[in-house]
């Protein structure tokens, strides 16, 4: 079974990770020698303009793509394929339209090796965690975008992964829903104490949530700089220190006209 023993530290280490798309040896690499270490329990945000390879990087960490150079290690083991210890939430919720909320979350537990009763309890707990009590029997087409994304977050969490990868999870939502879900994600992270890596193009969101913000640059995709966010939580977006940090990161984008949703 693909569980990780709790005695080992569940740190993530990327060493010289590079990627080119197949059959395109002369093109600029999508990712160029990425080095990054994430400590257990840390919240890291990766920001960058579209096309900087941040989502590709997340797929590599998830184990959905093994065509790359360099090393990715999680909990002392090389990442070769997907693992229940590494969860992921996609930008589009990717719920199964033929299943209801409860069944969609249970999808994640199919190979968890838990008993029926444990599964049932875990699903109920996570429905409560994302505030969807009473919606168990709803199908995805009956949910708003924000609610569907909460189901996707519950599905990502229900296996109790050591690491949760979030690929622009709020990118397709309206501003109000987005800020509410950002608050909920902060609460869940504080409650569950698991490592989270959030890919976003929203610098505000990154500074609001993360311990560290990794700024990526495009063509080739590489890490520009890493900014530590030493502000107490919950953070206020109008706080002077918050605004200063955000502006500092924004100034660092290599292609200013690509900066979205600042």
């Amino acid at each position: 079974m693909a569980t990780v023993s709790s005695t080992r530290t569940s740190d993530l280490n990327l060493h010289h990770v590079s990627k080119r798309f197949a059959g395109d040896d002369h093109a600029v690499p999508v990712l160029d020698r990425i080095d990054l270490s994430v400590k257990s329990g840390e919240f890291v945000a990766i920001v960058g303009a579209s096309g900087c390879g941040k989502s590709t990087l997340l797929r590599l960490i998830a184990g959905l793509d093994d065509q790359f150079d360099g090393d990715i290690e999680f909990s002392g083991e090389r990442v070769r394929t997907t693992d229940l210890a590494r969860g992921i939430v996609f930008q589009d919720h990717r719920l199964f339209p033929w299943l209801n909320v409860e069944q969609n979350i249970a999808v994640a537990l199919k190979n968890s090796g838990r008993s029926k009763e444990e599964k049932r309890r875990a699903v109920a707990e996570h429905i409560a965690l994302v505030g969807l009590k009473g919606y168990e029997g709803h199908h995805p087409h009956q949910l708003s975008g924000g609610m569907a994304q909460r189901v996707a977050i519950a599905r990502g969490l229900v296996n109790r992964p050591k690491l949760l990868l979030l690929d622009e999870p709020f990118g397709a939502l309206d501003a109000l829903t987005r800020s509410r879900l950002q608050n909920e994600l902060r609460r869940i992270w504080e409650h569950e104490r698991i490592t989270m890596i959030l890919v976003t193009h929203d610098v505000d969101e990154a500074v609001f949530l993360a311990d560290r913000v990794v700024v990526m640059q495009a063509r080739p995709g590489r890490i520009g700089k890493v900014v530590k966010v030493d502000l107490p939580r919950p953070r206020s977006r109008s706080d002077v220190a918050f605004v200063r940090l955000r502006d500092e990161i924004l100034a660092d984008f290599s292609v200013p006209q690509d900066v979205a949703a600042a």
């Binding site: 997907t82 693992d83 969860g87 589009d92 999808v107 199908h139 995805p140 924000g146």
Partner: protein
């Protein structure tokens, strides 16, 4: 959209609105009866006042009389049950074989490369072009007819099953990989449910095509009984009332099969995204 309950209200509001438009559609349904009613009236008028007593023409009253006669003697039920039994046998055989073949073509790239081109070429040949071969190999009896019907049912099921399976979104397959689904789990939990609406469309078409083919088979492979043979008998005996009666029975049966398939689709295979 600031609270979940508010969001749900918006959702149910949309459902109520679509229900309303459905009701206004129902109210306008009588318009569909205008043309049949006018046709029936003019038929009655022409047969009574214009070409009365002509052998090429029959009256609504005569057809009704024939209908009662056919029903009373049991000829209608014999013909109809023979046709329906044939239709269902051919449909079941063809659709089952089509499901297996379509699933194979959809799931296995190797099978698709091996069989796909031949199947696509086969699909292009009109089904009726096989009738001479079928009659040489299987005669003119029930076996030949069932073979022909199975072919008619097979083609749409294979095409829609394999297309449906291959059209499954890679995004959903990613989800299956994230949760470590085995190949079998992926097929059963993701691929088949995602392809189900398309598969049902194939089965639905198979039901309609095989009914149309039943008539073709009975008309072209003339042996035994069936509603198609009623038509043949009518035209050979110059009994237009029998021909018209047969056409009406065929129409009603086709309509009933169609309605049945629609009802099953509504009940079990509704595309939740639609």
């Amino acid at each position: 959209m600031s609270t979940p309950s508010l969001e749900l209200e918006t959702g149910s509001g949309a459902i109520a609105a679509s229900g309303e438009s459905g009701e206004s559609g129902k109210a306008g349904r009588w318009r569909g009866w205008v043309i049949p009613a006018v046709a029936l009236l003019s038929w009655w008028f022409v047969s009574r006042h214009v070409v009365a007593g002509h052998g090429m023409m029959t009256s609504p009253a005569q057809v009704l009389h024939t209908a009662i006669d056919q029903a009373r003697t049991g000829a209608l039920w014999r013909a109809l049950s023979a046709s329906l039994a044939r239709e269902l046998t051919g449909f079941t055989l063809g659709a089952s074989l089509g499901l297996v073949l379509g699933a194979l073509l959809g799931v296995s790239p190797f099978a698709n490369r091996l069989i796909g081109p031949s199947f696509n070429a086969f699909k292009q040949v009109s089904l009726f072009a096989w009738i001479p071969l079928i009659s040489v190999w299987f005669g003119l009896g029930d076996v030949a007819k069932v073979v022909f019907l199975s072919l008619a049912a097979l083609v749409p099921v294979v095409a829609h099953t394999s297309d449906g399976i291959r059209a499954v979104s890679p995004a959903l397959l990613d989800v299956a990989r994230v949760f470590r689904y085995s190949k079998l789990q992926t097929v059963r939990q993701v691929v088949l449910p995602a392809a189900l609406p398309s598969i049902f469309t194939g089965i639905y078409l198979a039901l309609i095509y095989s009914w149309l083919a039943t008539l073709g088979a009975e008309y072209l492979l003339v042996a035994g009984s069936g509603i198609g043979n009623t038509l043949v008998d009518g035209s050979e005996q110059f009994r237009m009332d029998l021909v018209v009666f047969g056409v009406i029975v065929i129409g009603i049966t086709g309509w009933a099969l169609n309605a049945l398939a629609r009802a099953i689709q509504q009940r079990w295979f509704r595309d939740p995204a639609a």
